[in-house]
Amino acid sequence: MTTVEQAIELGLSKDEYQLTIKYMERIPNITELGIFSAMWNEHCSYKSSKKWLKTLPTKAPWVIQGPGENAGVIDIGNGLAAVFKMESHNHPSFIEPYQGAATGVGGIMRDIFTMGARPVANLNCLRFGSPSHPKTKHLLSGVVAGIGGYGNCMGVPTIGGECTFDKGYNENILVNAMTVGIVNKNKIFYAKAGSPGSPVVYVGAKTGRDGIHGASMASAAFDANSENKRPTVQVGDPFTEKLLLEACLELMAIDCIIGIQDMGAAGLTSSSVEMAAKDNNGIEINLDKVPVREMKMTPFEIMLSESQERMLMVLKPGSEKKAEDIFIKWELDFSIIGKVTDTKNIVLTANNTIVADIPLEPLANGLIYDRPYEKKINNETVKIPNNSNWDESLEILISNHDLCSKNWIWEQYDHMVMGDTIGMPGSEAGIVRIHGSENQALAITTDCTPRYCEANAQLGGMQAVAECYRNLCSVGALPLAITDCLNFGNPENSVVMGQIVSAIDGISAACKTLSMPVVAGNVSLYNETEGKSIPPTPQIGAVGLIKNTDYQLTNIISKYNNQDIIIIGKTIGHLECSIYAREIERIDNGQPPSVDLDQELNNGKFILHLAAKELISVCKDISDGGLAIALAKICIMSKIGCIIKKPKMINTNAWLYGEDQARYIIISERNKTDIIMKEANKKNIPSSIIGQMEGKSFKVEYNNDNKEISIEKLSNLGNNWFVNYFSK
C-alpha cells in the first residue's frame, strides 16, 4: 500500500498519484508506484513538451525514422543510412563530472548501436559557468576527462562540438552528447516486441544499486543539497560497452532479433514498457532471472536501477542458443528474463509472486500537459559604443574563453581512431568519411547561441538551426537533418514555458525553410538551481552529406599567392548581443541579429554551388565574433596574414565584429574571383571582395590608418587560454 507522501517523494504530484489509482483501479504498491514515477517524470514522458514537439517538421523523402525511436535515421545513399541523436546528461555531470559526462557518452552511443549502426563519430556541447566561478575548473576538467575516458576506450572518434562559458550556468552546467552511426539500410533494428510468446532477453552488464531513480533526479531542480544526490549518478564501464557493441553487432548480422532497446534512463522499466507498448502487447518479466551484482535487491531497485551497459531484446523464438553463444564469447551476461504476452499489461514476478501488474498504455502514453506559458519579448534596443581600437579588441577577443582555440579539450579526445576523420575538430564541422566508400563523407556539427536565445528564444532557436546549416555548407556538405536537445529551466514557470514554446517555433520555422527535418531529440528541463534557470539553450546537432570529398571545403589555405578574400552575405554591422558588445563594451542586453531564412538558404546553396564547380576550396562561416574572428582563424590555421580594406559607410568595429547572419568568408584564387563575383551577381547573392591573403599580419586599411597584428601573436593568444587558465 502506498501513500500520497511516498508518491511525492518519488517525484509525482498529488494529481498524478490520483491518476495512477484511476488507471490501476486500486492503490499501487511501491514497485508499481516507482515504475509510474520513472515513466512519468519529465525525462521519460516529455509531458510538458510533447504538445509542442509535435509541431516540429519531421518528414522528408530521405527520412527513414523520425522522433520516437532510439535515434533518428536518414538515407545517405548507396544502401546506407545515418543514425544519430543528441542527449543531455546535465544533472549527473554537475554532481559528478567525470562519471556524469562519461555515462552521457555511453548512453547516447548505446542509442545508436541499438539500432544496428556502428557509431562513427561523437560530438559534445558543453556549457560551463563563468571561468572565475570556483567550481568551473573542476567541472571542466572532469567533464572533458569523462567524455574522453568513455569515447576513447570505445574506439569511436570524438570529432567536434562546442564549449562556452557563462555565469548563467554556474550552478547548472550542460553536457549534451551526440553520436552518429552508419548502418545498412535494410538492417535497421527497432524497439518493438513482435508477437506474444517471443523470449525477452537481458544482455550486458549486471544490475546494481547505482543510478536508482536517476531519471527522476534529472527531472527535478537543484537545491543546496544536490551534492547528496551523488549516489544517483551511474558509473560507466566503457570496456563492457565496447564488448556489448561488438556482441550486439555480431548478433545483428545474423537473423535473430525482433526488437532491441537499450536500458538508459529508467533502466529496465522504460526499456520493457516502451518495447511492449509499441506493438500493443504485454510483457512478463521474472525478476529472479535478472543478473544482479548485489544481494537482496528489491523489485523496486531492480526496475529503477540505471546501471549502465545493459540491453533488452526480444528474440525470434528458437534463436536463443545462437544468441547466447555470442554473448558468452564476449563474456557478457545473457539471461532470458521473460516473454512477450497479449495481456497489454506489464507483469513482474519475484519468488513466484506477482509483484507488479500495470496496464502499459497509460504508463507509456499516460501524461501530457498543456502548461501555461507567457512569451516574454523584450523589444528594447541598445546602442553599442564602438570607438575601441580594433586591434586591441581583436587581441582581447581572440583570447576570449568563448572564441579561443579549444584544442586543450579535443586533444584529450581520440579524434582519429577508425581512420576516417578527414575534418578535424576545431573547424566548422567534423567530417568522417563513410567507411569503405571512395569519396563520400558525413559532416556533423552542433550549435546554439545561448545569449541570442536569452534575448529572444524564438529567434535563438531559429539561429541555432541556421548556424548549423551554415556550418555544413561551409565544409561543402548538403545539410540533411537535425537532432535537438532542448535545455531549459522549470516548465512550471510560465516564462520558461514561453521560452520552450518560442524556441520550438523558431526551430520549426528554420527547419522548414532549410529542409532539415528534426529526426530525433531530447528535452532536459528543470535546469534550475535555487529558483534560477539557465539561459534557454535549444542545442542543435546537424548532419550533412559530402557527396564527393574532392569538393570538401576547409578553412586552411594551401596556396599562398593571389588569394582574394570575399564575403558572401550582407554585412550591416549588428553589434547588439555580440561577443564584442559583451567583452569590449560590457553590454549584454539588446536585440540579437535578425535571421533571414531565405537568405540563409540562398547563400548556403551558393556556397555549395561554388564548391561543386570547384571555384573555391576554402570557406568559413561567420558567426561569434564576426568577420574579424573568422578571418583571423583562417590566418592562424594557414599561418599567413591578410590585408583587408574597410568600406566607407560602416564603423570599423561594427564591420569587423558585427554578427550579421547568413555570411561566409571564401578565399578565391585571383583568376577565379571574377567568375565568382559574376555568378553571385547573376544569382542575386550579396558579395564583396574585401582584401587579400598575404604577409604575416592581420592588417586593416582605412583612412590611412594601417594598424596590424602579427599572426604569430594572434595564434599564441588564441591557443593559450586553457593552458593559462589551468596553470593559475
Binding site: 576506450c153 574506439g155 570496456f239 564488448l243 586533444e411 584529450q412 582519429m416 581512431v417 581512420g419 570529398t549
Partner: protein, 228 residues
C-alpha cells in the same frame, strides 16, 4: 608477408591496422582472437592499439596473460617479427618481451595529436633511407610515458635499440618536443634480438594526406621490404 593481428577484448585499432597493411602491401592480415593458442605460418605478429580489458589494473597487463600470448612470446623468441602499437607496446612491456614500462603521461591527460618522430638507428624496422628523417605520426594515449631504470636505458642506447624518439619539426630531440615525459623522448624501442618493436605512435592512422599525413606508408614499407 603473412601478417597476423591479435584481437583482444577492447582492442579498437585492429580494424585500422588491418586496413593499413592491406592497403600498403595488398595482403589481408589474419585476425586472431585472444583465446586462440597457436599461430601458424606467420612472419609478422601485430598487437594493435586500443584498451584491451579496458586498461583495467594496468594498461596491457591483463592482455599480456591472454592464452595467445604464450604463443606470441614463443614465436618472438624464435625470431618472428612482432610489432606492438600503443596498447600493443604496453602489452609487450607487460609480458616481458620489451623492457621498461609505460606510465601515465606527465601532464596526466590523454593526448591525441600528430607528433614528430625521428629514428637515429638503422634496424630490421627502420631502413637506411628513414634514418635521420623527421616523420609525423599521430599519438593517442593516456599511458605513453616510457620509463626504465638507468641500466636498461644505457643498454638501449648502447645497442642502438631506441627505434623512435619524439622531436621538433626540425628533428631536435629536447624537453619541449617530449609530449608525454618519456625518458630520452622514447617513442619506440626494439628488443635485444631486434625482431620486436613496440611504439606509442600510430603509423596506421597516417596513410593519406586527407587524414592528416602519410608518413605511415613509408614506416610500413620500411620493414616490409626487410621482412620480405
Amino acid at each position: 608477408m603473412k601478417p597476423n593481428i591479435i584481437v583482444f577484448p577492447g582492442s579498437n585499432c585492429d580494424r585500422d591496422v588491418y586496413i593499413a597493411i592491406k592497403s600498403v602491401i595488398g595482403t589481408s592480415p589474419k585476425m586472431i582472437w585472444h583465446k586462440e593458442t597457436s599461430l601458424e605460418n606467420t612472419n609478422l605478429i601485430i598487437l594493435p592499439g586500443g584498451f584491451s580489458h579496458g586498461d583495467y589494473l594496468r594498461s596491457g597487463s591483463i592482455a599480456s596473460r591472454a592464452p595467445i600470448m604464450k604463443e606470441v612470446i614463443k614465436k618472438a623468441k624464435n625470431g618472428t617479427a612482432v610489432l606492438g602499437i600503443c596498447n600493443g607496446f604496453q602489452i609487450l612491456t607487460e609480458c616481458g618481451l620489451l623492457p621498461g614500462s609505460l606510465m601515465r603521461n606527465s601532464k596526466m591527460q590523454f593526448i591525441c595529436k600528430y607528433s614528430y618522430l625521428v629514428s637515429t638507428n638503422e634496424s630490421k624496422w627502420v631502413n637506411k633511407k628513414q634514418v635521420g628523417k623527421v616523420i609525423s605520426l599521430p599519438v593517442a594515449h593516456h599511458d605513453g610515458n616510457y620509463y626504465a631504470n638507468n641500466k636498461i636505458i644505457e643498454n638501449l642506447v648502447k645497442d642502438n635499440r631506441i627505434a623512435y624518439q619524439y622531436c621538433s619539426d626540425e628533428g631536435v630531440i629536447d624537453d619541449k618536443s617530449n609530449i608525454n615525459g618519456s625518458i630520452n623522448n622514447i617513442a619506440g624501442i626494439i628488443n635485444d634480438q631486434g625482431n620486436v618493436l613496440g611504439m606509442m605512435p600510430h603509423p596506421e592512422r597516417a596513410l593519406e594526406k586527407k587524414l592528416g599525413g602519410k608518413d605511415g606508408i613509408n614506416f610500413f614499407k620500411s620493414f616490409f621490404e626487410k621482412l620480405g
